[in-house]
Amino acid sequence: MTGRIRPVGLLALAAALVLGIAACGSSSSTTTSTTTGSGGAAASSSTTSASSTTGSSSGGGFKVGLVTDIGGLNDHGFNHLSYQGLLQAESQLGVKGTVLQSQSGADYVPNLTRLAQAGNKLVIAVGFLMAAPLEQVATKYPNVHFAIIDSPGGAAPDTAKNIEGIDFAEQEAGYPAGYLTGLYLKAHNYTTASTVGGQSIPPVDLYIAGFQAGVKASDPSAKLLNAYSQDFVAQDKCKELALNQIQAGAKVVFQVAGACGLGAISAAVQNKDQAIGVDADQSYLSPTYVLTSAEKKVDTGVFTAIKNLQAGQFSSNLQEDITNGGVGIGKIGPAGTQWVSQINGIIAKMKSGQIKPPTTLLVK
């Protein structure tokens, strides 16, 4: 019988080891959760907490739900920015927000359904991957308003009319960033600028189209390179592409590949060349070597959609562009500060409609 006891003892030992590991791991978890707790729910830039902030809810009757895509709230990009928009609406508009994170594609329909059932006035789906699931749910709940980021929404044919597409004119963020790049190239007698895209899909290609047109506008002789990593996550892939481009003479690298693109920025920084961030203001990655960032203010889009609906406005398509501040450029780094006023002039011209950046690529 002694033999029978042994496995239990050993399993207990294994368990103790595991628990030991768990205890080590847990200390960091505790820190995270404390930070978020003390940071306060509403306007803090906390990324982990998604608690529904009832708090001192004035006008808490207006409930808004948000369903993230698989990347989760900590993706430093899309999902994170959407959540920021919701937090902003909570603090400024007094709405009551709920966030559901999707772990796989199988979560889309159940998550959207749950929020539609829970009495939310507006349910926001983050990302075009949810278009078909959203269509199913929106048809079933015609009295709930839905919004979807990066998709034409109800503006597309055969689509439920209670879906609002939040669309971004990425080319209008790429253009001023490209214009600045051209100025930088010309001033230093550099020849080449490059782009690293995640995949050849519209949100990516629009950025690149605007960027390329911008570069050519301020430096017509500039050479353009473009490559796709086919990945939005693995940094090494984008880094490799960027290093190749730098090898081929690129002095400014524009990344349009989400988390993967962080590798492209690090390639530029490593070679003391300039990089351009995407989606969010990424100047924090390297204050010296990030020339600027082409921003797509998903947070503004989310906030605007909520604000509009609260005021009784709902359209099938919410176009976010440079005019209403839905896209733009971030902080301009030290290598570009001398041209700030010139860039502001370009942006003003875009706002007044004198410059219309193209939506097709010059160099594929």
């Binding site: 033999g3 496995p7 050993l10 399993l11 989760g72 979560d107 159940p110 078909a132 995949q199």
Partner: protein, 415 residues
């Protein structure tokens, strides 16, 4: 276990020593000793460890686990749950069963290979080619009779998965290429073939969505009938999965192929000596493994997914879950079904929609990963435990050098 297998196994071990133990003999060894005790113990320990982590973050593990339990929808089984709560529970249970449907099959895809002494890490690739074929068949052939269309899509996906895995089997049989390496490589080929097919302008790209890298939609006639609920309700796929698990059990235990597979798993040389065609068995087993994974993909596609983004192909992990499910299920039909149900329930139960939001949803999401990770860790290291228990002799080699007395004692204790 039959007498011959026992003999083969001990023969193999006598002849080759501890280092040459094949995965299948380890499997048999584990099953022989531990039955279902160890998997259950493993799971319990994982849950306790997860609970302590929750506790360490300042939350109540009991209420967390009760939330997870309710989130799985299993509270639907309680007659006193009623009204809106019951409707929610029904929805959750549907999702749990939907999650379990492909997990059973990708688990079997790994388990069958294990039984034949092979490690099929290619479940993901086989699942991916199944997806590609299922969405292609499902979105083409408009107007085909519904039942025929569904059967055609499932069989075609099974054939595709089988052929894909068969490549690894043929390579192993003819050149001796290790299936671990070849199946991993085939995973990547499948993934990039899929991305190529559905990217903008790709051969299977949806022509009506020129700016989105997605397949065409499965036509309504090829969708599996939903038997419970609406909006991604439970479809008949779960029955197909369960039926195939029964088939797996019969094939492995009651057929010549299953017998040959197990024998080859214990010791290929002995099987060869006994007149079995080892190479042919490897190929057959891999083809069947791939077919299971292909069916899994088709059930997802025809059941609730209906279209395929290149992004889906790049982020899917389900084939790898299959390894964990098979390990926890001890490579048996019943065990795999139980493990898949547990896994499916965990995925549904810890999804953020099923939590009252006093608990940080990110923590909850990580809790799933932690519990899964601990289970896999313990399941894969229990070999050590079990060997110390009964097979001290076999790893005695390591101990003997340092503490000869102890190793002898272990052996004596085991007897």
């Amino acid at each position: 276990m039959s007498l011959l297998e026992d003999e083969l196994q001990s023969e193999a071990e006598e002849a080759k020593g501890a280092a040459a133990l094949s995965p299948a003999s380890l499997t048999a060894f584990r099953r022989g000793i531990s039955g279902i005790t160890v998997p259950i113990l493993t799971t319990v320990i994982a849950f306790i460890a997860g609970g302590l982590i929750v506790l360490a973050t300042g939350h109540n593990p009991l209420s967390t686990y009760s939330s997870i339990f309710n989130g799985t929808g299993l509270n639907w089984l309680f007659p006193w749950v009623s009204g809106a709560e019951r409707a929610t529970a029904a929805g959750n249970l549907q999702q749990t069963l939907l999650n379990a449907t492909p997990l059973i099959l990708v688990g079997l895809a790994v388990a069958f290979a294990f039984r034949a002494g092979m490690f099929n890490i290619g479940g993901q690739g086989q699942y991916t080619v199944g997806w590609i074929v299922a969405v292609w068949v499902g979105s083409s052939f408009h107007g085909m009779p519904s039942l025929l269309h569904i059967a055609f899509a499932i069989v075609a996906a099974a054939a595709a998965g089988g052929a894909w895995a068969g490549i690894a089997g043929v390579l192993k049989a003819t050149t001796g290429a290790n299936e671990v390496i070849s199946t991993i490589m085939l995973n990547w080929i499948a993934i990039w073939v899929g991305v190529y097919c559905f990217q903008l302008g790709g051969p299977l790209h949806n022509p009506h969505m020129p700016s989105t890298p997605v397949s065409s939609n499965v036509v309504s006639g090829a969708k599996l009938p939903v038997i419970w609920g609406s909006l991604q309700g439970l479809d008949v796929g779960i029955f197909i999965s369960l039926a195939l698990a029964v088939v797996f059990g019969l094939v492995i235990n009651r057929t010549r192929l299953g017998y040959e597979a197990r024998t080859v798993g214990f010791n290929p040389e002995a099987a060869d000596y006994a007149g079995m065609n080892v190479g042919r068995t490897w190929i057959r087993v891999m083809v069947i493994c791939g077919a299971f994974a292909g069916v899994a993909a088709s059930l997802d596609m025809l059941g609730w997914k209906f279209n395929l983004f290149t992004n889906d192909i790049l982020v899917s992990q389900i084939g790898f879950y299959g390894i964990a499910v098979a390990l926890l299920g001890r490579n048996t039909a019943g065990g795999t079904v139980a493990a898949a149900l547990l896994w499916g329930a965990l995925l549904t139960g810890t999804s953020s929609r099923n939590f009252n939001l006093s608990i940080d949803p990110t923590l909850v999401q990580y809790l799933t990963f932690m519990i899964e990770g601990i289970i896999v860790l313990l399941v894969s290291t229990d070999v050590i435990t079990l060997r110390l228990l009964k097979g001290g002799r076999r790893i005695g080699l390591t101990f003997r050098r340092r503490r000869p007395d102890d190793a002898t004692a272990t052996e004596a204790g085991a007897k």
